[in-house]
Amino acid sequence: MNYVEWLRVRRALKITLICLGALLAIGGVARVATWSFWSNSMLHISSLLNDKDSHVTHLVLPNGSKETIVDNPRERVHVTIVDNGYAGKHIEIMDRSAKPASGGIDYAGATQVRVMPVRGGKLTVVDTNAPTFVGDYAVFGAIVAMILATCLGAPLARENDGHLEIAATKPRSREFLALQALLTDAGGIVLAFVIGVAFAFVLHAIFQEPAVSFTPGDGLAVAIAVLGSLAWYAMLAAATASLHRGYGTIVGFAWPGALIVVAVALLVTPVNALTTALHYVFVPLSYLDPLRYLNLEASTNTGRMIVSPHAYFEPTMLAVLTLVYSALAILQWRRVEA
């Protein structure tokens, strides 16, 4: 591990933690401020509880959960609320006055609302403990990791900028020293991803009761998020490895540049000479662009983001890009002069 690079990573992570911590604090305050509002605001339950015509019964179930039964003959609504504490709430609302409605499932974060037409009315079942997929958190983790990857993005150039005399006169080969720096930063990026995921979960848990679940699709999402950040970092490192100055500009232009490459590759169709030329230049170019592989397609079935159908193509390509760009960076650094 490279001590100097590790100090850099530590500094960046500290700032990240402070920013995220501030966001969490804001979230916590918001949660406390809206405590009662969240608990029972849905679906007019609170107004029912206070209605003079409602019969309200409270029970404690054998497993410790609290059950509340509300029966309002005037509204012809029967509500059963089972509060399982952190395991969420299960609410059944039987509305005999409602017209037969079509069924459906809706999600609001970890809250799942199922509407089912049954004989005699409309049954609405609300579960506040619907599964939340790690893949969703991975999106936020990816954002944090990408930010860190960009901040750490020109490790070798930073040494070239006036520190080679101290960095390259160590009793190890240039290749080893460069690899050390890259690996240290990679560790930091992975750590940033984990912190991002943890943060997203905690923030979510402040407001809802997520039941975290992990499926193979989530595994792919995590892999793409992590490898994507690493590939992005490695690309920046390779682009700047020979520079002494001006690497900040390259890192700054990398984002818009990479986005433009992906946009042109995906959106420009070859209809005339110009667009054909653009197409045949930018499409191959886009294969070298890590952002191209951060594909997330929404599925309408379950209401959550899933990974695109080319399941293993993206993570593999990202891994290859990471290795190739890292090698390019290391090879360049062998020949840099003070």
């Binding site: 001590y3 006036g162 006169t169 009793p171 003070a338």
Partner: protein, 303 residues
């Protein structure tokens, strides 16, 4: 312990030759001074010695072998400009050195820093130029290295700290380590070094043992009673490096054989012949800027 052999070292940047066909031998355990005006190629020479720059041609060999990364364990380097990380504290720099080099003596480094009056908790950004030099020097002398390569190790330091660095160099020499250092302070080189080389515009113009140079190189001055005198043949004598004459006085810089040249002057009619000793500063000036040197000797300028 290594003998360092530089053979026909040339380093070009584009068409500009920063170092031009330099050949030097630095025996193991000696103190070697590298002198020269700014831009003479001293720093570039050091970089080529340390694999921080690749020679255009020529070689630098340590005990007959090119520099391998493991050798850095035993080589300490103080660069000319500050290479510290602005955002790290001095103590963090020491920790970095401790992790990189097995023989780094952290305790000694802190002692040296205290001697230089540097607060290890300060970030490098907050240090003056002299303090940065002091930090790099403290690190180098705490390394227990066999070879120390110091590029202007006293630049920016006040006279007291300069003396400290000089004493540290002499300490290393007493331990049998090699020290190669460049300095604009000729007096320092005069004290600490046994051998020197003078570079000018990339080329070596002079090298040798200081004691030999002082013993051999003299100014032979002849005062002539009449204005007409001839120095035929004298300038072509291989031992004569430089001749400066006015109507009555002639000064000849000789590389050896001062007595004989003195006699030669007397034979050509000089009434008063005297032989002037040269110190290292004189020798250096004559090597790179004879006009300045002459003016100094004429005016008797000597500090």
């Amino acid at each position: 312990m290594s003998t360092i052999q530089i053979s026909h070292l040339t380093k070009r940047y584009g068409r500009f030759a920063a170092v031009d066909d330099l050949s030097l031998e630095i025996p193991a355990g000696s103190v070697f001074g590298l002198l020269g005006p700014n831009g003479a190629g001293k720093t570039t020479t050091f970089k080529c010695m340390l694999d921080l720059a690749r020679p255009t041609s020529g070689t630098v060999l340590y005990d007959g072998k090119p520099l391998a990364p493991e050798a850095f364990e035993k080589i300490a380097y103080v660069p000319e400009r500050s290479v510290l990380y602005e955002w790290m504290t001095v103590a963090e720099h020491l920790e970095m050195e401790r992790r990189a080099f097995r023989a780094f003596d952290t305790k000694r480094a802190f002692e040296l820093l205290a001697g230089f009056d540097v607060d290890p908790r300060k970030t490098a950004r907050k240090l003056s130029k002299g303090m940065r030099t002091a930090v790099m020097a403290a690190i180098a002398f705490a390394r227990n290295a066999d070879i120390l390569i110091l590029d202007e190790p006293t630049s920016g330091l006040d006279p007291v700290n300069q003396r400290t660095v000089l004493s540290l160099i002499i300490n290393e020499a007493a331990k049998g380590h090699s020290v190669i250092f460049s300095s604009h302070q000729v007096g320092q080189v005069e004290r600490a070094a046994e051998r020197i080389a003078v570079m000018d515009r990339g080329r070596m113009v002079l090298s040798g043992e200081i004691d030999e140079l002082k013993a051999d190189r003299k100014i032979v001055e002849g005062i002539f009673p009449s204005e007409s005198y001839a120095l035929d043949g004298l300038a072509s004598d291989p031992r004569v490096a430089h001749v400066e004459c006015t109507e009555r006085i002639c000064r000849v810089l000789v590389l050896s054989g001062a007595d004989e040249i003195g006699n030669a002057l007397a034979q050509r009619g000089a009434a008063g012949v005297r032989i002037v000793d040269l110190n290292l500063e004189d020798i250096f000036l004559y090597a790179v800027s004879p006009k300045t040197a002459d003016a100094d000797v004429v005016a008797g300028a000597r500090q």
